[in-house]
Every structure is written in C-alpha cells, then in structure tokens.
Symmetry: C2
Subunit: 406 residues, 2 copies
C-alpha cells in the first residue's frame, strides 16, 4: 500500500534530505515542507501585548515569538505593523511603560557627562526617519538540517520598517562625547529582573562594535506611530544592518565601553559556534546581517496552485550592510537564472527592495528561487553557514519553494 | 467685564479677521483657532466600516469624513492606515465586496478589445509600488474666510501612502491600446445607485486628462495590505498628483473617452468657481494638486505648550506634480524664513518629504509657518485662491500655527 501524502511527507521531513517528494507528486524543497508543517503546528492565539496583531498573517510559535507568513508581507515595501514579527528573549515589561513614552528615562554612560535623559528631551536633539530591515538572528533556522534548538523560524522573522528617532551621534555630541578607548556601544533593555536572580543570566544587554554608532538611532516611533511594547517602546536602540537582538528594546541604559557586556546573552548566546560545540565568548558574535532574498508571491502555501499563463514572481531582497544591487530568479531549482526588476522606491541601503519578474508558466511543477547580490559585491550563497544555533541562514536553496501550475 | 477666553475666541472666530487674539494672551491665527473649535465639535464615534481606525488620532466630522489630527501624522513619512483620513462622497458599498478581492471585476472600455478582467488577472499583468500623497480636494477648507459649504477640513484630509497595483499602461497594452482620439480617462466607482434615481445625480464617475495614464495605476494594496473598504478596496484607480476624488474607489469601469463624464460630480462639482457663483462645466476642474506644506510638530494643540530651549520644528511638504525641492520655516509669522532640512528617504516625486529645523526658543509667543517650493519652481503662496467651494487651499498663512513657549 502506498503511504498517504501526509505520512510520506512526515517521513521525508525526518530524513534530512535536501529535496523531498511531497504533495501532488511534485518536488517540494524540505524547507518549504517544514515551513508548512510548522505553520500547521503553530499556536493560534495572540498574547495580550500583541492582541492588535493580524493573526491570519502570522505563524504564532509562542507568546514571545510570531512570524509573518510568506504570503503576508504585501507588496508595499514597508511591512504593516500588525503583520510584523515579534521576538522577545524574555517576557516584555508591563504595558505601563508605554503609557507616557515621553517620560521614559535613558541613562547614558561612558561619556564625558553621564546623563539621565527623558524621551521628551531626546526628541529635542534631532530627528531622522530610517527605513531598515529588522530581522531575527535565527530567521531561517527551520531550514537547517541539524534542527538547532530555538524558534523554528521560516522566512518571516523579518520586516522592513521605518524607525524614527535621534541619531546616537547627536546624543553623544550633547553629552560631550564618549570616553576615550571605547570599543563597544552597550545597550541594556528594561526587562524586569526577578529578585534573587543573577542579572547576567537573564538581562538583555548587548554590545556591538563602536563603528555602529555611525547610523544608529534611539527610536520612539515605528512606521509613523509610537513604538508599541511588542516592538520595544517607548525607546529602542536601532542599529541598521545588525540582527534584531542588537536592537535593544525598552532601552534603559546606553553605555560606551571598553569591554563587551558580561551578560550571558552577550557572552554565550548569539555566537557562531560550530555544530555540536557549546557557544562561548571566543566565537564570533552575531552582529551584521548577510545578503539575502526570498520569494513571497506565489507563496507556495498548500492549496495555492497557480493558474498557467503570465505570472509575476515577487520577492524581497536586501544586502545587510549595503544595498541590494541585483536579484536573479530561477524557476528550475537554480539551474538557470534570470535577472528580476526592482519595483518601488529605493528606501536607502538598509531597507529591502521589492523585486518582480513576469514569467509565462505552462502547467507543471516549478522550483522557484531567488538570489541577491549586494552593492558590496557579495552574492547570496547556495548553502548556509553551519552553526550550532541556526543563525544567519541566507542560503538561496533553503528559501526556495515549489509551486504547482495548473 | 472682560469676556472669557472662550467667548472671546468664539467672537473672533466669527469676525473673519486673519489673526485673532486667543488663549493665554497670545496671537493665534484664525485657522488654528478654527481647527481647535472643529476638533472639539467633532463626532466621537467611528462608523462600522472604519471601526479599526485609531479614533484618538482623528477628527471625526461625520460617518463619511474623518481627518488626521495635526499632531498624529507621525515622523515616519508613511501615514499609518489607522490614522489616514477617510472621505466618501456617498456611503460606501457593502463590506462584502472586499471579502474576495481577487474576484472583483473591472470593465475596460474605449479600447481595442473591450474587456472584463478580474483583480486576480490584473495582478498577472505587472506590479508597481507607488508612494504618493493622497489629499482631499477640500483639505484646508476650514481656513477659507468665506466659510464654503462642505466638510471643514483643517490640515488632515491628506496622507502619504504606498499604493501597489498594475500600471494603467500595462492594462492598455494587454487590451490593444485605447481608442484613437481619447481625451479623458474616466473611472466609475462601485457605489450602489438607489433604484429610481438618475445615476448621473449620484454616481462617482470622474474624468481626468488622458496624460494622467502615464503614472496611474489600478491598485489592490495600500501600505502593504489589501485596500480596506474605507479606502476604496478591492480596487482603486490611483492617479498620483491628482486630488482624492479623482482616485476612484471600488472602481468597476475604466473607460477612455472623448468627452468628460456626464455625472454631476464631474460637470457641476469639483470646479474652481468664483466665490458666490454656481459651479458648472465651463469652470476649471479640480485635478492636479498645488505645492503645499504644513508644520506637524509642535502641533499647536490646546494645552500643548512647548518647553523653552532647543525644539525640532517638523512638518510635511510636497510639490503636487513634481517633488518638493525646498522648505523654509518662519517662527515670526512669515517675517523671516530659514531653510529647513529634509529627513528620511526621498520616496519619489509624488510623495511628501518630512522636514525639520532645530531652533532655540525662549519663552514667549511664536507664529510657526512653513513654505515649500517644488522642483517645478513654484513656491507655496501666502494667500489661497478664492473659490466657492473651498478647494485647493495651499496658503502658508492659513496653515500657520501659534505656540506658547514656557
């Protein structure tokens, strides 16, 4: 007796092979089959602090982890806030902290004049609107064959948003500059630390190289509205080009330091440790994002067969620390590539570009992939960089999807 | 006996003088005093089709007319959808029409091959993301001293959004091109016409010069999500640079015609008739938007006194049919002007720019104004163009506001 499609898919899901037979006889990349399983398994209800989110556009992994569905990014460049992913390392603080955002206090240390400054007063120092990709370090983790622990993000722990705030450099100027010899900018989140616990085990305190001050801002708005608690309001450290965790939420202290934070999240997490090894301070920190792209339409979601004829293959591409320069699309699993066109405005080097390629598709099975190249000249690789926690996946093969054209 | 502040303000409101004494002894432009009165008088509850709007950010004039408060535009360039103004000429159709947007049918006429095409099939023809200012023809009507009839809009019947859709030119190409001699593009809205009424008296059918096809799109998304009913979903004709009414909602027919529509809304409304005269087809139609700007922060709202010291004066500027090139700011009612800086990315010629000017303000009264100049070389005028219905107000003096610095 033939196994059912479902049991066959399950079997293949656990086989670790890169490309698996699934669905109506077509070739479905493991990545996509996994994503579909994840979506089905996901929790369905939103936590209170994110109750305003658009549940149908999200895969709700847990109360602290929700990602945008591949088909829900839209084609308007900026990710609508109610569709934007959420990822909290620990539970967020009380909603009370966003009731009067202007009253939130930030401590600035490692500067000529240590300062306590309110958001109201930060707003007086300057303002800039910064379109940028915000992406969780572990986005694409679900596609690692080694099944690293952590949230099984597919493509949706990322969004392109416009943060508004004051440049960190304008704040530095107001406090007389940073201490000489500072090597890191260290942000401390406002999460509550339960009494009796060593703060280092739980606090969200991240250090990033001092060069990051160049474009970093302290932000109070996202997409034109005060930052909601779910996204780090009333004040968030925003470091364009760096993965999500480095954009410290509810920031209560910004320090310019000679050493990296002693917090566990800095020393032993978010490190590029080899598979099977324990993470530690000797390994590279997860800071900058690499070049990446993925197709969003067709979305490859189950039951979403595509009608034959002209089809617009759409997707998103970004370069990480430099702009996306080019994107190629393949409909045959990466054998042949055609250059796609960018549509919509260029929002600056840290934002993503939206791309489209009109293709004529006859009935059949297709493997749709996209491959971006950055202004810095780096092309998205076929394979991910193996690491024990499944960080920084930018493999074009992993993000490929199968569609059936009827 | 001295009149109370309130009765004094009311008295001045009806005096027609340009600048009136109000509040704590300061000079408040009539425009601003009026806006404050309007806001207080406004209805407080949202209609069902717009129940998802952020009521605190809006002045709700009626179930079909809501505007963004001056202080609620945010500093992120794109107006959040839940803060965007709403203006319907007649009540919107049933919510049912947005249940399955892909199924909506558009009739295309005045072309080589007259066609009925679904939104699903329009999506196959091409895609473009278009950032643009959407503004009601009557935005700023409240500032006309002649008190024209119609909604008393202040600054908020405008927003900058990203529409996504297919270029009208791509649709024309697919149907073999327009009839020779076509002089207008005529869009017909999907509003329901009550039985027994002459459709021309009520239907929303607008004709615009054929040149507008150059950048026009048929849009199914706004700000990255399917267009809600309140904003003209499932399909809207989007004509960047043209006032709101020309961007036909729930469009059911797009025709290329030799004559303008016979509908009343084309023949006798949205015309630049002299004050006191009846509108008619001999007068100029309200189509293109002129250069305009206004200050958004400080917002000048009652009780929002500004603390002395450095203040970021922020606002929005657009050129209409060409980009905003420069903005100047005055803090003394237009006697002296200083050039402001644009912040954030340039989203293209139809979008607005966000500007800021850091100024040091001592305690006292200030009259804050902004004045934009377009790439086409036109500068926002001091005075509005008088007309019987209060259209196209771009007077910098009318949009000025008074603040008290303490």
């Amino acid at each position: 007796m033939e196994p059912s499609n479902l049991s066959r898919r399950r079997m293949l899901l656990s086989s670790g092979s890169l490309v698996a037979l699934a669905g109506a006889g077509g070739l479905t990349p493991l990545s996509q089959a996994l994503a579909q399983e994840m979506a089905k398994a996901a929790v369905k209800s939103l936590p209170a602090y994110a109750s305003w989110k658009h549940a149908d556009s999200l895969i709700i992994h847990s109360a602290n982890t929700m990602e945008t569905r591949r088909g829900a990014f839209g084609s308007g460049l900026i990710t609508p806030l109610d569709r934007l992913f959420v990822r909290n390392n620990v539970s967020p603080p009380s909603e009370k902290i966003v009731a009067d955002p202007d009253a939130w206090m930030l401590s600035v240390k490692g500067v000529k004049t240590s300062t306590e400054i309110s958001v109201a007063d930060l707003k007086r120092l300057g303002v800039v609107a910064l379109p940028m990709v915000l992406q969780c370090s572990g986005n694409g983790r679900a596609f690692f064959p080694e099944k690293p622990s952590g949230t099984q993000w597919t493509v949706g722990a990322a969004g392109c948003v416009i943060f508004t705030g004051v440049p960190v450099k304008a704040v530095l100027e107001a406090v007389g500059g940073m201490d000489s010899g500072s090597k890191y900018m260290t942000g401390t989140g406002g999460e509550e630390i339960p009494a009796g616990l060593d703060p280092n085990t739980i606090m969200v305190e991240r250090s990033i190289p001092i060069e990051a001050i160049e474009d970093a801002i302290l932000a109070w708005e996202i997409n034109g509205q005060p930052i909601p608690l779910a996204h780090g309001g009333p004040l968030r450290l925003v470091v364009p080009g760096y993965t999500g965790v480095n954009n410290v939420k509810y920031i209560k202290q910004l320090a310019f330091t000679k050493e990296q934070s002693a917090a566990n999240i800095q020393q032993n997490s978010y490190r590029m440790a080899p598979v099977g090894e324990k993470s530690g301070p000797s390994q590279e920190s997860v800071w900058e994002m690499p070049v990446k792209s993925w197709v969003t339409s067709p979305s490859g979601e189950p039951g979403q067969d595509v009608k034959a004829g002209k089809v617009q293959i759409q997707g998103l591409a970004f370069g990480g620390m430099s702009a996306a320069k080019d994107v190629e699309v393949s409909v045959d699993g990466g054998k042949n590539w055609v250059k796609a066109s960018f549509v919509g405005p260029d929002l600056g080097k840290y934002a993503w570009r939206q791309f489209t390629l009109g293709v004529d598709l006859k009935p059949g099975q297709y493997q749709i992939a996209s491959r971006a190249t950055s202004e810095a000249g780096t092309t998205q690789p076929e394979e991910r960089v193996p690491n024990n926690r499944g960080y920084l996946n930018n493999s074009w093969r992993d993000h490929m999807l199968a569609i059936t054209v009827v």
